[in-house]
Symmetry: C2
Subunit: 197 residues, 2 copies
C-alpha cells in the first residue's frame, strides 16, 4: 500500500483565530463574493469542517467578522487626537480611514446578508462603537463647545452623516474632485449645526 498521506492537524485552540484571520484577509482581498467556506479554510490551512465546528456555518463566520469589525471601528474612533470638540472633529477622518482600509468589511457591517443574524456579542460591540462617539459628544457639550442637547441624538446624527459619506464614497457615488476635502467640509457642516454660533 502507498505511504499514508502526511496529514497535518492544527491545534484546537488556534483554529478559530486562524479561520477568523483568514476570513478577514480573504474578504479584504477578494470581497464578499470570494468569501467561500472552502477558500477561507484553505487560506487558514484548516479543514472546511472547522467553520462548522467553530462558527456553526457561514452566517456564524460572517457574524464573527462583524463583531471584530465593530471592535476595530471603536478603536479607530478612540484613536482620534485632541480634546473636546477638536477630538470629535478629528474622529471623522479616523472613521473615514477605517472605512477605506476595510471597504468590504465596512460594507458588510452596515448591509449584511439576510441570513446573518448579528449575535449578542456583535450587538454589544456595535453599541460600544456608538458609545465611543456619544462620549466624545458629551465631552464637547460639557466644555460648552456644542449646543446643549441629548448627546445620543446628536451622536446619532453625526454617525449618520459620517457613515453616509463613507457609504457613498465606497460605492463610487461622488461628484466632487477631492473626496477628503468634501468629507472634511461635510463633517464641519454637521458639527456647525450643533455648535454655538
Amino acid at each position: 500500500m502507498p505511504a499514508a498521506p502526511a496529514r497535518h492537524r492544527t491545534p484546537s485552540g488556534d483554529i478559530s483565530a486562524a479561520l477568523l484571520t483568514a476570513a478577514e484577509d480573504v474578504l479584504d482581498r477578494e470581497g464578499l463574493a470570494g468569501l467561500t467556506i472552502r477558500a477561507v479554510a484553505t487560506e487558514a490551512g484548516v479543514a472546511p469542517m472547522g467553520v462548522y465546528n467553530r462558527f456553526g456555518g457561514k452566517p456564524g463566520l460572517i457574524d464573527a467578522l462583524l463583531s471584530r469589525g465593530f471592535v476595530l471601528l471603536r478603536e479607530a474612533i478612540l484613536g482620534a487626537t485632541g480634546d473636546g470638540l477638536e477630538r470629535l472633529r478629528n474622529s471623522g477622518p479616523a472613521y473615514r480611514e477605517f472605512a477605506l482600509t476595510h471597504t468590504h468589511l465596512y460594507g458588510l457591517m452596515f448591509n449584511h446578508p439576510d441570513d446573518v443574524a448579528p449575535s449578542e456579542e456583535t450587538l454589544v460591540n456595535a453599541v460600544q462603537s456608538f458609545q465611543a462617539l456619544v462620549d466624545l459628544v458629551s465631552d464637547a457639550m460639557d466644555r460648552d463647545e456644542l449646543i446643549p442637547a441629548e448627546p445620543v441624538e446628536v451622536a446619532q446624527s453625526i454617525w449618520a452623516a459620517v457613515h453616509g459619506a463613507m457609504s457613498l464614497e465606497i460605492v463610487g457615488i461622488g461628484f466632487t474632485a477631492d473626496r477628503a476635502a468634501t468629507f472634511q467640509r461635510m463633517n464641519d457642516a454637521v458639527l456647525a449645526g450643533f455648535s454655538r454660533s
Copy 2:
C-alpha cells in the same frame, strides 16, 4: 403519442417588463437571497433563459433593478412639496419614505455585489437623482435661504447625511425611540449648518 403539453409563449415585447416587475416583487418580498434566476422567471411566467436573452445574466438583471431604483428615487425627491428651503427640508422625509418602502432595493442601490457593474444608463439615472437634490439646494440659495456656497458640495453633504440615516435605520442600528423624529432632527441640523443664522 400523448397529447402535446400546452406550451405557452409570452409575446416578445412583454418579456423584459415582466421579468423586471417580477424581479422587483421578489426582491421586495424575499430580499436579495431570494432573488434567483429561477424564482424570478417563475414569478414572471417566463423561461429562465429569458433573463439571459434580455439582460445577459443575473448581474444585468440587478443592474436594471438599480437603474429603475434611481428613477423611483428621483421621483420621490421631486415629489416633495413646498418652495425653496421648505421643499428641500421636505425632500428628506420623502427620501426616507422611498427607502423604507423598498428596503432591499435601496440597500442594493448603495451596496451592490462585486460582479454588478452599473451600466451607463444606471449611472445617468443616479446622477439625475442627485441633480434633483442639487436643484433644490440651488433654488434655496437663490432665495438667500442658505449660505452661498457650491450647491454640489452642499447637496453631497445633505445626501450623505440622509442616506446614512436611512442606511442605519434599515440595518437596525438606532438608539432613539422615535425614528421619524430623530430623522427630522438630523435633517434640520444638517440644513441648519448651511443656513443663515
